[in-house]
C-alpha cells in the first residue's frame, strides 16, 4: 500500500503557471485525474513520476522524495506518453530488457507474466516496428507492469483506444487496484473516469478544483445554479409563477427574454411545463446556458 503525497506543489515556466498550489494525496485504489486539456494533468503526473521538479512544494512517495531519485521506480510504474519505442527489438526482448533494467530476480518470468496480463504473448516474437498502434500501447502497459509496482501512473491511457481495448484496459486496472495498488490515470473525458475511478481529483487551469468520491462531486455539480433563457408569450407571468412555486431562485426580465436561475434542476424541469400550461403561457424557446465541461469546471474553481 503506497501513497503519493503532494504538498502545495506548483510548477511555472517563466510567467506561465502550469500547476498552482496543489495539495492532494493519492492512495490505494483507482484515482482519476480529471480536467480539460491544458489543465496541467500531464505536468502533475510528470512531477509525481519524478520527471519534472516542482517549482515549489514537495512530492513524496511513502515519505521519500521522487525528484532525482531513481530508486522510486522500483515501486512506481510509469506508462510513458511517448509514441516511440525501441523498434528493432521484438516485444519479448523489449520486455525482457525492461525487466532486467528493473533488476528483477527472474526477468524472463516477469516479462512473460507481463505479456500475459496485456494479452500480447502471441505477437511477442515479432519486431515492435511491425506492431499496430494498439499493440504498442499494450506493450507500453506491460513495461509499466513488469516489476509489479505498487503505484501505477498513466497519462491519458485511453487516448485513441478502440472500445474493445478500452474495456480490456479498464478490466486490468480494476484487477490491479483490487490487489491493493495505487492507480492514477488522467483523462479529460468524464465518462471514462466515471466508469472505473473510485476517487477523482479535478484539475482546472492548474488549480485543484475538486476532490473526492465521484458520485458526491456529481451531485455537487448538479446542485450548481442552472441558467435558462426562456422566451414565452407572457414572460412576466411565467416568471412570477416560477418564483412563487419555488422552482426558480431568481428571474430576470430583460427585453423579450426571461432569464431563470435555479439550483434545483429536477424540480424546475418538471414544474415549467405544468406552470406554463396552468398560466396559459406559451413557451416559445427554452434553452440552457452553456453546459460545457469547462463551465462546470469553472464553477468548481469559483467555489
Amino acid at each position: 500500500m503506497s501513497a503519493i503525497v503532494l504538498d502545495k506543489v506548483s510548477r511555472w515556466y517563466g510567467n506561465v503557471v502550469a500547476v498552482n498550489d496543489v495539495t492532494m494525496t493519492i492512495g490505494p485504489g483507482i484515482t482519476g485525474l480529471l480536467g480539460p486539456n491544458g489543465a496541467g494533468k500531464s505536468t502533475l503526473i510528470s512531477m509525481m513520476g519524478g520527471f519534472l521538479a516542482p517549482s515549489a512544494g514537495t512530492v513524496a512517495l511513502d515519505g521519500g522524495h521522487v525528484w532525482k531519485n531513481p530508486e522510486i521506480y522500483r515501486k512506481v510504474g510509469l506508462v510513458p506518453e511517448a509514441e516511440a519505442m525501441y523498434d528493432m527489438v521484438t516485444g519479448a526482448q523489449f520486455l525482457l530488457a525492461n525487466a532486467r533494467l528493473h533488476g528483477l530476480g527472474d526477468p524472463g518470468a516477469a516479462a512473460r507474466r507481463a505479456l500475459e496480463q496485456v494479452d500480447m504473448v502471441e505477437p511477442s516474437d515479432r519486431a515492435i516496428a511491425t506492431y499496430s498502434k494498439g499493440m504498442k500501447q499494450r506493450i507500453k502497459m506491460a513495461t509499466a507492469l513488469v516489476h509489479d509496482p505498487a503505484v501505477l501512473l498513466l497519462d491519458e491511457p485511453f487516448n485513441g483506444m478502440d472500445p474493445r481495448q478500452r474495456l480490456h484496459l479498464m478490466d486490468l486496472l480494476r484487477r490491479l487496484a483490487a490487489e491493493g495498488r495505487t492507480v492514477l490515470f488522467s483523462s479529460h473525458i468524464l465518462e471514462e473516469v466515471e466508469q472505473i475511478a473510485d476517487h477523482i481529483e479535478v484539475l482546472v487551469a492548474g488549480r485543484h478544483a475538486a476532490s473526492g468520491d465521484y458520485r458526491r462531486i456529481r451531485r455537487l455539480m448538479t446542485e450548481r445554479p442552472h441558467q435558462y433563457t426562456i422566451a414565452s408569450s407572457d414572460d412576466r407571468r411565467l416568471g412570477a409563477a416560477l418564483v412563487a412555486e419555488g422552482a426558480a431562485d431568481g428571474v430576470t426580465l430583460t427585453n423579450g427574454t426571461l432569464a431563470v436561475q435555479t439550483s434545483d434542476f429536477g424540480r424546475f424541469v418538471h414544474a415549467l411545463p405544468r406552470l406554463a400550461r396552468d398560466a396559459g403561457v406559451r413557451l416559445l424557446d427554452v434553452s440552457p446556458a452553456d453546459e460545457s465541461l469547462e463551465s462546470v469546471f469553472a464553477y468548481l474553481v469559483a467555489r
Partner: protein, 243 residues
Amino acid sequence: MNPVVMQLTVRGLLGRRRSLLLVILPALLLGLAALTRWGSHAAPGASASLTGNFAMGTLLPLMCLLIGTGVIGPEIDDGSIVYLLNKPVPRRSILLAKLAVALATTLVFAVLPIAAGAAIAGDEGFKLTAAYGLAALLAGIAYTTIFVALSVLSRNAVIVGLLYALLWEGVLGGYVPGVKDVSVRQWALAPAEHLLDAADAAGWGVTSAVSMSVGVTLLVVVTLGAGWLAIGKLKTLRLAAAE
C-alpha cells in the same frame, strides 16, 4: 555501467542507416590507403598527408559526430529514452554505458582504421602509425565524449558539432591565431609529436600548436568536463511535453 543499456544502445546504433556510413567510411579510407601505397610506393610522406589531412581532419571528427550523436540523440529526440529513465538505474550509469558503447565504436570503426590506414599507406617501421594512432585515439575519445554531451544538452547537437569540428577547427584554425590553442586536434597531436623525433615530426606534419603537457591536460579536462555535464543534464532531462 549498465549492460542492458549497452546492449540496447548497440542494437540501436547498428540497426539504423547511420551504421552504413560507419562501415563505408573506414572502408573508403582503407581503400584510399591501399591506393596511396601503390601510387606513391609506400612513401611515408604521402601516407602522412592522407592521414593527417583526410583521416584526422575530416574523417575522424565526422565519424565521432555520427557515433556520439547516434548513441543517445535519436532516443532523446523521439522520447523513447523514457524507458531507460523510468528504471531504478542511476542516470550516471545510463550515460556511462552509452558513452562506453560510443567509445568502443569509435575505437573499432575510426581509430583502428586510421592507424591501419597509416600503416598500409606507407610507414617507416610503424613510427607514423604509432604517432597518428595515438593522436586519433586521444582525439577520438575527446570528440566522442564532447558530442555525446552535446546530444544531451542540445537538440541541435549535430549542427553545433559540425560547426565546431569543421569551421572552428578546420577553416578558422587556419586564419585566426589563437583558435589553434582551443582545438581538440591540436591537443591530441601534441603527445603524438612527442613520440617522433623532430625531423620526422616536422616532415610528416605531426606538429602541434600547444605543448604536450598543455595538450594532455586540456584533453583530460574537456573530456571529463563534458562527461560530467552530460550526466548532470541527464538527471534533469525534460522529455517532450505531451499536452
